[in-house]
């Protein structure tokens, strides 16, 4: 049986919900699935992973817990674990952390790596992924001793495949390359979901008129458990920080629901949210490009519609 590993990512100490879709992408009765997680305290994940077909949970420990804050050291630890357990195929999330860790691993192993996979076929070693600003879907064949796949969040619906999960500890003894040193780590907003992984996003554009008005999106987001995004216009005008920008030169997002408020819909904006499951467009202009490519459109004043949406969602709870 070929061994396939899935790299576990956590948020505030818990497995990220979007990770179960990654496990599903790797599920196959023919293979033995291993989950790799950093830190001794991850042994408690076994019960959560059991229903998804993980046979072995490998908790990777190091003499000092701090050593895993170094991205290069994390990559070395994964490579060491892959070698030890004879793992040649690795799946992980195309998150911001994944965009650093997976290429580090692939580069050291000289292994093929495809990020943002929408689907993976392990039998013929092909994947589907968007290219050219999300305008095309490419089928890519990977060849190599190892293969590494970054799965786009929220694209694969998790499926259960219950097995017994055994926990194994892998003690990593390596030392970091002293040419790369982490001086400081400042965590992002506590509990906040990164745009690239959010299941629901509500975004504002030119129609928001100023930065203060984003508060009404924040309030609505809080009720829905959503993240707040913005168009390039809103960022260029200094209303919100670049970390909120959805689009070509901002963040590519793939939520189940994308609500575009006062966003006309440039090609570059679509390039960042085209794979959203459902798109809602709220705009005073019924002819806006976004209106033509949405699932549900309301032609009207977002300053009236969004507070009404917040109110009604609150009432539903």
């Amino acid at each position: 049986m070929e061994k396939i590993a899935i790299l576990i990512e956590t948020r505030q100490g818990e497995i990220k919900p979007s990770l179960y879709g990654v496990i599903t992408a790797a599920q196959d009765a023919e293979h033995e699935l291993l989950a790799l997680a950093f830190g001794a305290d991850t042994a408690r994940f076994a019960d959560q992973l059991k229903p998804y077909g993980i046979h072995h949970l490998v908790t990777i420990t190091a003499p000092s817990a701090r050593s895993f804050s170094n991205p290069d050291n994390r990559a070395r630890a994964i490579i060491r674990a892959m070698d030890h357990f004879d793992i040649r195929t690795l799946f992980a999330l195309t998150s911001l952390a994944g965009k650093d860790l997976l290429p580090r691993i692939a580069a050291r192993l000289d292994a093929p790596l495809v990020m943002d996979c929408l689907a993976v076929n392990l039998v013929d070693s092909t994947v589907e992924k968007p290219q050219f600003s999300e305008k095309t879907i490419a089928t890519i064949r990977v060849t190599g001793h190892h293969r590494i796949f970054g799965i786009r969040p929220n694209m694969i619906e998790p499926k259960t495949m219950p097995v017994e999960t055994e926990t194994v500890v892998f003690n990593y003894q390596g030392t970091a390359d002293d040419r790369l040193e982490v001086v400081e780590t400042r965590q992002g907003k506590s509990g906040a979901i990164d745009l690239s992984e959010a299941e629901i996003i509500i975004s504002g554009g030119r129609g928001m008129k100023n930065g203060e008005n984003f508060q009404i999106l924040q309030e609505c987001a809080q009720v829905m458990g959503a993240a707040v995004g913005a168009s390039r216009v809103a960022v260029d005008n200094g209303w919100v920080p670049h970390s909120m920008q959805v689009g070509q030169t901002g963040t590519t997002v793939c939520p189940k629901l994308y609500i575009a408020c006062g966003i006309s819909g440039s090609i570059q904006h679509f390039a960042g949210m085209k794979t959203a499951g459902t798109i809602v467009c709220i705009n005073t202009d019924p002819d806006a490009a976004m209106m033509q490519q949405c699932d549900y459109g309301i032609a009207g004043d977002l300053f009236k519609i969004i507070p009404a949406l917040t109110r009604q969602l609150k009432a539903h709870r």
Partner: protein, 275 residues
């Protein structure tokens, strides 16, 4: 040339070799271009191509670092078809000193690209810093900077939003999720993958563009670089248009009515788990 007068006037200046900053740039289709698939795995390249937007930030950072130090050479390097020379010219117009074009007859994957960049750079000189965009907007692979660093056996950081140069190291900040940041110090030489937040790329003026015409671009065929053929490959075997079928339903009525209807449809037919 050793200028004694200058040396004594500015005793803090230590005479060293010039600092070499290599900037790796990619020639990519304009994000606004209409992509037409012409063969199972090819696009019609008769569209506007330009300097990859993330690489613009890398060029800008290199030109700014050059402005801060007395003796710095900024060399733009690209790997690609003959048309990619235009992207080198863009980098030269932004202020790079010279260019190297590794000419190919096809668009190689990032494994081959990194090997070609490594071979071209070490053939040219000793790098102190290598800058490139965190990703290219055509393939969105996020990996060439890491492969190049591994090939050269030097450290790398990506998604970099600030660069501070020290004597023989650089301190960079890398974006983490939800607005977090990690401050990393790397010994030089090293590779940096630049993010949009790093700077605002300059817009070359007409005189800049004319001046850039006189700058040297060295062309070398990839076949002359004696690159060891890799065992690993990533190969595009098919391309299709990404068409997402949308419902395109307009919801009318009063504010309250249309919001009620929207929630009903989102929870119902769209199966969105609205809490």
């Amino acid at each position: 040339m050793f200028d004694a007068a200058l040396f004594y006037l500015r005793p803090h200046v230590i005479i060293t070799d010039p600092m070499n900053i290599y900037v790796c740039v990619k020639h990519v289709p304009d994000s606004a271009a209409t992509i037409r698939i012409v063969e199972p795995n090819q696009i019609d390249e008769n569209i506007t191509f330009l300097l990859n937007p993330y690489d613009e930030n890398a060029v800008e950072a290199a030109v700014q670092l050059k402005a801060d130090s007395d003796d710095t050479d900024v060399i733009a390097v690209t790997v690609g078809k003959p048309a990619a020379i235009d992207t080198l010219k863009s980098a030269l117009a932004m202020g790079a000193d010279r260019g190297i074009h590794v000419v190919t007859g096809y668009w190689p994957d990032s494994i081959v690209t990194a090997r070609a960049l490594q071979a071209a750079i070490i053939k040219d000189g000793l790098p102190d810093l290598i800058l490139t965009g965190k990703a290219a907007i055509d393939s969105d692979g996020y990996q060439t900077q890491f492969r190049l660093a591994a090939a050269l056996d030097i450290p790398v950081a990506t998604h970099v939003g600030s660069i501070a140069r020290n004597d023989n190291s650089v301190t960079v900040t890398c974006g983490l999720e939800a607005g977090g940041e990690q401050v990393i110090r790397m010994r030089m030489p090293c590779v940096i993958g630049t993010a949009k937040t790093l700077n605002t790329p300059r817009y070359p003026t007409l005189p800049d563009i004319i001046k850039a015409r006189k700058k040297e671009i060295r062309e070398v065929s990839i076949d002359h670089l004696a690159i060891e053929p890799p065992d690993s490959r990533m190969e595009i075997i098919a391309l299709k248009s990404a068409v997402q079928k949308r419902r395109k339903q307009m919801i009318a009525g009063s504010i309250e009515e249309s919001v009620t209807e929207l929630i009903r449809r989102l929870k119902g037919e769209a199966r969105i788990p609205l809490s």
